[in-house]
């Protein structure tokens, strides 16, 4: 009796294990942003397309925090989805491993000349086998880091926003309105977060420095040069003078946002997400917030792209068609991906950018003290694209993803480490990654 009972239990279990469903569908992942309108529009588009073409699709949506783990596991295990929309991490990694389908023909079909040139650089990745550059993805939108400015505080201090503000002006103004501990001048995130990476890099770029110059094993030597040292020293000074709030070293990605929303800082460089959120929550600070770009450097926080994984010719064709279908509707794209997001994302098409500029002149986007599309003029880097190499690399993506830079830089503030030493450490670590990835 005992044997029988256990055997039955065991076989029931085995059957349950092997029970799987092998439905063949086009798997579409949408990495969500915090803007509902973007996510919902994309999903509707995918559904419409599926209905029109009679294709079964499996749509999955999840936020970027979960998405990164997922895409890594999917690539590593060889079970990637067919199409990814708004995916940031993974596009370069997958392309460098030869896992993605080039989308050059889709870009031509959409009108190559209508794209902002800088934008196409985001996803123009060198094929490791042929050495040719192809666009393995289409960036979903431009996601420039703006500087949020408390104009009420500026007014009190008698400062005006110049036509083309730059870093020097920003730092001067931040010092002028600095009134700790009530209000700190500059909300410069320094914790272990992406915002810190972008803020530090923006300043280094503005000083004329760089991150990766080439794919050689000394490609990151450029990081260990005077501009980096100067930038790090400047941050240290501002931190010691309490222009940067002392708690900035423990901010995570929403640290500076909350500080701004609570009125504790006068300036901070971030995505437009702060403004978007304040309007949504009815925060009174939204009324005294203006957004500007610094003319020295604009960093794209994203690289959220659409890309298609290699699979069968049929599925690849479908995947490409889906992406074409989404971007073809340029009008709908502008309204839902950009305008509905309060311009947190700017259009990748010049034709739509012109409309945005026109709307700004007509006063539709009062939070911008400058023409929002002027961001395209100073774009320097994005998630995986570093300067001066000007092309995305999986090494830059790893540097960003692992938060190497903020992780090391923090020692300047907590242990009084020498900025030069820190810069060297970072450059060495990146050089090692370069050698690992691209050989000697």
């Amino acid at each position: 009796m005992s044997g029988k009972f256990l055997k039955v239990t065991f076989f029931v279990f085995l059957i349950l294990i092997t029970l799987g469903f092998a439905a063949k569908t086009l798997e579409v992942w949408i990495a969500t942003t915090f803007v509902d309108a973007q996510n919902d529009w994309l999903r509707t588009k995918v559904e419409q397309w599926a209905k029109e073409k009679g294709v079964t699709v499996g749509i999955s949506l999840f936020p970027k925090e979960i998405y990164t783990e997922k895409i890594v596991a999917a690539i590593e295990s060889g079970n990637p989805p067919d199409v990814v929309l708004q995916g940031a991490a993974g596009v370069v990694l997958a392309a460098e491993k030869g896992l993605l389908v080039p989308l050059d023909d889709i870009i031509d079909k959409l009108g190559r000349s209508d794209f902002y040139e800088e934008i196409l650089k985001y996803t123009a990745i060198t094929d490791p086998k042929t050495g040719e550059k192809h666009n393995y993805g289409i960036p979903m939108f431009i996601e420039p880091r703006t500087v949020s400015v408390r104009v009420d505080l500026l007014k009190k201090a008698g400062i005006e926003i110049p036509k083309e503000p730059d870093y020097n002006w920003l730092i001067k103004a931040a010092k002028a309105v600095n009134n700790p501990p009530k209000v700190y001048g500059l909300g410069f995130p320094l914790g272990k977060c992406y915002d810190a990476h972008d803020n530090i890099m923006a300043l280094i770029y503005a000083k004329g420095g760089g991150l990766i110059a080439n794919k050689g094993p000394h490609g990151a030597d450029i990081f260990n040069t005077k501009p980096t040292w100067d930038a790090l020293k400047l941050i240290k000074e501002l931190y010691d003078e309490h222009v940067i709030p002392p708690d900035a070293i423990q901010w995570t990605d929403f640290g500076n946002n909350l500080a701004f929303m609570e009125g504790r800082i006068a300036f901070t460089m971030n995505g437009l997400s702060i403004y978007y959120r304040m309007v949504k929550e009815g925060n009174p600070i939204a009324k005294v917030d203006k957004e500007i770009f610094l003319k020295d450097v604009v960093i794209d926080t994203g690289l959220k792209s659409a890309f298609v994984f290699r699979s069968t010719p049929d599925k690849e064709k479908l995947g490409k068609d889906l992406i074409y279908y989404i971007f073809k509707d340029k009008e709908g794209y502008r309204v839902n991906m950009c305008e509905a997001a309060k311009l947190y994302g700017l259009p990748i098409f010049k034709s739509q950018g012109k409309i945005i500029s026109q709307e700004w002149r007509e006063g539709k986007w009062p939070m911008f003290a400058v023409d929002p599309m002027s961001a395209t003029k100073a774009l320097k880097a994005s998630w995986a694209m570093s300067y001066p190499i000007g092309e995305p690399t999986s090494v830059a993506e790893r540097v960003m993803g692992s938060l190497l830079i903020p992780e090391k830089v923090i020692r300047i503030f907590t242990e009084n480490a020498d900025p030069k030493e820190v810069a060297k450490e970072i450059a060495d670590a990146i050089n090692k990654m370069l050698a690992e990835t691209y050989g000697k």
Binding site: T9, I17, T32, F34, N39, E65, I66, A73, S77
Partner: protein
């Protein structure tokens, strides 16, 4: 022994101190969940007023995660489904294994015990990619059943180990009598042992439930579609990079901590005798 005055004073200090220690984070969690969001910007400790708005927002809106999805009920129900199925499945095999290890003399028994103990404490993140692969192979990726399977590797070693310990604490005489009377081992287990092992089984069940209920890493890697989200992923989704709506988030926290808490408190009598007798023996 009569309680001395010093002892009483020390006792009171310990109790009050620990109670406050436990209360601090809980106080915030509950008050933030039930107060208006704007309160937090004014440095108030005492809520300005009581509101169910956050709970309502979370439970009824389809938009707790930053995109139109499903009501929060769905992850709640998924979690209930997964955790209770895992508990039942795991008990079904661990009762036998636990009893076998405690009572049946088998060669290499100690090896099996060590093996199960090893699995019990093995940190699962080490093998998460391998498991991800495996689930794809057997077509259980992005399915709640696949998730249950992975949860079993966390829950089964625990419950086998605890039940083994618990069975060891039950006096053997009655079982021996039953065996002499001609009842088989399985018969003895089902008719004689199980009824008297209720506290042990109940507490094992509760803890198994909690283990599955709290599991984040596996769920995060193998579940894709939001209609299959469990609570941990749902809450992870609510901490969206840039922003946290503390009111909604804490409402989510309150919702997700209530079921296990209520289970524990309702079956407290069993828990103390069962959980520890098992784990400690």
């Amino acid at each position: 022994m009569k309680l001395s005055l010093t002892w009483r004073i020390v006792s009171i200090i310990v109790i009050v101190g620990l109670s406050i220690f436990v209360a601090l984070p809980l106080y915030w969690t509950f008050t933030i969940a039930f107060r208006p969001n704007m309160d937090l910007f004014t440095r108030r400790i005492i809520p300005s007023k009581f509101t169910l708005q956050n709970i309502k927002d979370v439970l009824l809106s389809n938009n707790w995660g930053g995109f139109e999805s499903v009501p929060f009920f769905v992850p709640l129900l998924n979690s209930l489904l997964v955790a209770s199925s895992v508990t039942v499945m795991s008990l079904a095999i661990s009762i036998f294994a636990g009893y076998g290890l405690a009572r049946v003399k088998m060669q290499g028994g100690q090896f099996f015990e060590s093996f199960i103990l090893f699995s019990y404490v093995f940190p699962p993140f080490i093998i998460v990619i391998a498991l991800y692969n495996f689930l794809h192979r057997i077509h259980l990726y992005n399915s709640l059943f696949g998730l249950m399977l992975l949860h079993l590797i966390i829950v089964v070693p625990y419950s086998t180990w605890t039940l083994r310990g618990y069975f060891l604490t039950i006096p053997q005489d009655i079982e021996d009598a039953a065996l002499v009377d001609g009842l088989s081992r399985v018969g003895t287990l089902l008719r004689i042992v199980l009824p008297s092992a209720t506290p042990g089984i109940a507490s094992t069940a509760i803890f198994s439930f909690t283990l599955s209920w709290s599991e984040l890493l596996f769920a995060m890697t193998i579940i894709d579609s939001y209609e299959k989200f469990t609570l941990p992923i749902a809450l992870r989704t609510m901490v969206i990079g840039d922003f946290v709506n503390w009111g909604n988030l804490m409402a989510g926290v309150v919702i997700s901590m209530l079921p296990p808490m209520l289970f524990y408190l309702a079956l407290q009598r069993y828990v103390v005798s069962g959980l520890t007798a098992g784990a400690v023996k």
